[in-house]
């Protein structure tokens, strides 16, 4: 039963005079506050914030929460986002005041336990990637991309090389070209072949002395590991360029292969994906980066260092007193709360366990692929790594059901939708990433639901979802005449 009263906007629920928070009395021998704040700085009117009782607030937000699908409540096979189970123990442990109440400007001597965890995490990320230089500072995957490209730019500047181009794959996440543009690079797109892998001839035609970095996702966004990886990375290196690995898909290869071993020079992790950080309705994430030894001196500072038994924060200054670090990319150390959850996760599995994670992610995706390929066209073969991309193109022609229709209707069956219309290289793309934390029964049920939908009356599917509070919002009006805040009538 829905409580529609409690899910009005907080502004509509507001009643003048209601309040939840009361502070203790202020009893200090100081002048009144309006004497302490200069008159011309004082606000002339009270803020128009809503006035609510604590019970209002709790009931409102708890009711709102029930309108979301989440990993805790539903299978969430959102391709590219690795929506795996978020361990409860990590929440309890990372909320200990010894972590959550640490101020970012405390003296390192007062936070040795925290620095130990972060130092060890740096080492683990280096080991998993095969790249020894680690910065935990970036706040999200895209921020990691940007930071790593700044590192690459600093490296080329240092060498006196004027390289102006970043290559991205046509199947790449949109963040790749967007990050490159923010560092002032011109982006050029490298095509994929019909088998979904990099078109090496196209790459060759675009490689010259102006190319700084080739940004590669491997396994790529089609869920395919590029078997030509060695040839690709060698080619770029021969031209003096660097290889950047978008680590969005690390969940497929933990302990199986390492970016550093297949030729990557820089990469980012998405610990909220690979190492189970809760996605929080859109974030927070974190975007630690790993680089080869010759690039490490350009990393943002601080980095946690160990001297004997003591941990401290490095400044990046080298023995001659100079500093090659690109500087900071944000305030304070990094998204420590997310990083600590990654630390807990890696400690829980250990080296062998992490490989098992990836093996099960690959097993689950291939199993679901083996079921789905009888329902939808899967253009890139019957093997994948941790995810696969099907196409609704044929069923759209045959029965008028688009990828969006399938996505909307599957919600009625109690599953979150796969990613649709990405990657752009597949027509009517349906991108499915089951992760390793789903049972065979769940995967079977999902495939069965998809099968039923393809047999349903098209009108029923076009109007889906039917079981949700709302259905098919009007995006056009929302964009044409944006209403982005509540205003009193």
């Amino acid at each position: 039963m829905r409580n529609t009263q409690a899910t009005q906007l907080i502004f509509e629920m507001s009643r003048i005079g209601r309040r939840a928070t009361v502070l203790p009395p202020l009893d200090l021998p100081v002048p009144a506050v309006d004497q302490l704040v200069p008159k011309d700085h004082q606000a002339e009117a009270p803020l128009p914030l809503p006035e609510l009782a604590e019970g209002d607030v709790v009931r409102h937000f708890v009711n709102l929460s029930t309108l979301n699908m989440s990993v805790d409540t539903h299978f969430y096979p959102l391709g590219s986002c690795t929506m795996k189970y978020n361990p409860k123990r990590n929440e309890r442990l990372c909320s200990l005041p010894g972590f959550s109440a640490v101020h970012p400007l405390q003296d390192p001597a007062t936070i040795q336990g925290l620095l130990q965890a972060l130092y060890e995490l740096q080492g683990m990320l280096a080991e998993i990637s095969g790249l020894p230089g680690v910065s935990l500072q970036p706040a999200a995957g895209a921020h990691g991309e940007l930071t790593a490209l700044m590192v690459a730019a600093a490296y080329f500047r240092d060498r006196g090389e004027n390289r102006t181009v970043v290559l991205t794959a046509d199947s790449a996440h949109g963040t790749n070209p967007a990050s490159a543009a923010m560092v002032g690079y011109e982006t050029r797109t490298v095509k994929s072949r019909s088998n979904g892998l990099v078109d090496v001839d196209d790459l060759k035609s675009k490689l010259d002395g102006s190319v700084a970095v080739f940004m590669l996702t491997n396994p790529n966004t089609l869920g395919l590991f590029d078997s030509q990886i060695r040839e690709i990375t060698s080619l770029v290196h021969e031209h003096g360029g660097l290889i950047y690995l978008d680590g969005a898909n690390m969940n497929a290869i933990l302990g199986i292969t390492r970016p550093g071993d297949f030729g990557a020079d820089l990469m980012h992790y998405n610990p909220h994906k690979t190492f189970s950080g809760p996605h929080g309705g859109g974030g927070p994430g974190a975007g630690p980066i790993c680089v080869r030894d010759f690039l490490a001196k350009y990393l943002p500072q601080p980095i946690v260092m160990k001297n004997g038994d003591t941990y401290h924060l490095g400044t990046g200054e080298n023995e001659s007193g100079t500093n090659d670090s690109i500087g900071r990319v944000r305030s304070f150390f990094g998204n420590v709360g997310v990083l600590l959850r990654a630390y807990c996760y890696i400690r829980t599995y250990g080296g062998l366990g992490l490989r098992r994670v990836s093996e099960d992610a690959v097993l689950g995706a291939n199993y679901l692929l083996s079921r789905v390929k009888h329902i939808l066209d899967v253009p890139h073969g019957d093997r994948c790594m941790h995810e696969f991309v099907a196409s609704a193109s044929k069923i759209k022609k045959a029965r008028g059901l688009s990828a969006m229709d399938l996505a909307k209707r599957i919600l009625d069956y109690g599953f979150h939708a796969p990613t649709v219309y990405f990657p752009l290289v597949v027509d009517e793309a349906v991108m499915v990433e089951p992760t390793e934390t789903e049972s065979k029964e769940t995967l079977d049920a999902f495939a069965a639901a998809l099968f039923r939908i393809t047999d349903e009356a098209p009108e029923l599917v076009h109007e889906a979802p039917h079981s949700t509070k709302i259905s098919r919002p009007d995006d056009v009006t929302a964009s044409r005449r944006p209403i982005v805040r509540w205003t009193p009538e």
Binding site: V30, P46, L96, M182, D360, F422
Partner: protein, 452 residues
């Protein structure tokens, strides 16, 4: 083995059979060339069961001092404000915690409505027309505002800032500007810790001025005057504001500011050694299409029901790619949710009272510390919730250590950012500090003199 996996041996056999593969290794071998596969296991210690992990993490946590174990007077962009229990309780619900970006609006109305409420609250706090759904933190939000200004004033390349702007925000701006054609000009704050001298640096090349108010030293800036000068020169005005301060003082929008950014940690978010925090941003209506990040908007569904969606998405990287307003994808929605709950609990009176407590308690602390012989209050003008203190003996480290030994995190040393203030530290006083705690701070810092 420990962990969160599902499959029984029986499951695995059945799944492999359906796939038509003898083993997972066979599936991997079909794709990953043998010469790049690992021959040895990862050199990471064996996995831990839940009880062992708990004892490890508890032992690491026990080695850290914190605002929970010590009385915290540290500020400088992150503050020990009170967080009501309802914030943690509600925000830890799995339906919020373990969902993701609302790509399917029908099953994300909870998150989308929260984003819309958050955006509205931010416009109410700033007096500006539009807000996005969050950025990473105060520092990166400030840079995004600078990049927005550079794009909106195409051709202009000068960014005017001041030493009274958070030093880490300035460093972040410098890092980003390194790769593009723009330079930051940093104006020296006056001896009384304010930045009127920015006005003289504004010219026809200036894309934006970035002023923090109240500033890094806790001082109030004459934002209105700076804004007037900037607008006359056709430049954009960016204010870094403190979301608690607007309970009491004029809002950015009341002062002529075009883009307001803030660190939202103060609104119900834990200190957590610097992150995850909440980057807030609001701006003038006509700048909306240059805004970075997600924006939730109101619309109706096919049955005419009011609802919320992600809107104006053509600004974003997944559509516009290299021409996007920013590369941001994952943001800080969970922290924005916490801020929304926090502000709902505080309301206008709670926020005003919080700000009043900060001002009064900071003034009281200033009085008490000014009585310590060894200490000098550096800026005599009014402050909001922090202030700079000089140690006449020039041994800030010793002073901080003494206080620490007495259970107090007394201040942030300024030496690493301000060579001329190598004998100074920054003291912040929030509503959480009691009169007794402030008295104790003064007592400990005074008795340190006796110890010398």
């Amino acid at each position: 083995m420990t962990g969160y996996l599902f499959h029984t041996d029986q499951d695995r056999r059945e799944m492999l059979e359906a796939i038509g593969a003898a083993s997972v290794q066979e599936i991997i071998d079909a794709q990953v060339p043998a010469d790049v596969q690992m021959k040895v296991p990862l050199a990471i210690a064996d996995g831990l069961d839940e009880m062992s992990l708990e004892s490890l993490m508890r032992s690491l946590a026990a080695k850290n001092a914190s605002a929970a174990s010590h009385t915290c007077f540290l500020g400088g962009g992150a503050y020990d404000h009170f967080i009501p229990a309802a914030v943690d309780e509600i925000a830890s619900r799995g339906e919020f915690y373990t969902s993701y970006t609302p790509y399917q609006a029908e099953v994300s109305q909870g998150n989308l409505q929260v984003m819309f409420e958050y955006e509205t609250l931010v416009t109410q706090l700033t007096g500006l027309a539009v807000s996005n759904a969050s950025l990473y933190d105060g520092g990166s939000a400030t840079v995004e505002a600078v990049l927005m200004s550079l794009a909106a004033t195409k051709g202009r390349t000068k960014v005017v800032t001041t030493t009274a702007l958070h030093p880490q925000y300035r460093q972040t701006i410098d890092t980003y500007l390194e790769s593009i054609e723009a330079d930051a000009v940093v104006i020296e704050a006056t001896s009384n810790g304010t930045s009127e001298s920015m006005i003289a640096a504004i010219d026809s090349e200036t894309a934006c001025v970035v002023v923090q108010h109240p500033n890094f030293f806790g001082r109030y800036e004459d934002v209105q005057r700076i804004a007037d000068a900037a607008h006359q020169a056709g430049a954009i005005v960016v204010q870094v504001f403190d979301p608690v301060s607007v309970g009491l003082i004029k809002r950015p929008g009341d002062l002529g500011v075009d883009i307001a950014v803030a660190e939202g940690q103060s609104l119900g978010n834990h200190l957590c050694y610097g992150g995850p925090y909440l980057g807030m941003m609001a701006c003038r209506e006509d700048l909306i299409r240059r805004m970075p990040g997600r924006i939730a908007g109101q619309t109706t569904d096919r049955r005419g029901k009011r609802c919320w969606v992600l809107t104006l998405q053509t600004r974003e990287q997944h559509i516009r790619r290299d021409k996007a307003t920013s590369n941001i994808c994952s943001n800080q929605t969970l922290l924005a949710l916490r801020a929304t709950i926090h502000l709902s609990l505080l309301g206008p009176h709670g926020l005003r009272e919080t700000a009043e407590h900060c001002v009064a308690k900071t003034e009281y602390a200033r009085q008490q510390l000014s009585r310590c012989q060894r200490l000098e209050i550096v800026h005599t003008g009014p402050v909001f919730k922090e202030f700079v203190v000089r140690d006449r003996d020039g041994d800030v480290a010793e002073l901080m250590q003494t206080a620490f030994n007495q259970g107090i995190l007394a201040g942030v040393p300024l030496a690493s950012w301000y060579p001329e203030m190598s004998d100074c530290f920054l003291v912040a006083v929030t509503e959480k500090r009691s009169r007794a705690e402030i008295d104790r701070l003064a007592e400990v810092l005074s008795s340190s003199l006796a110890a010398v």
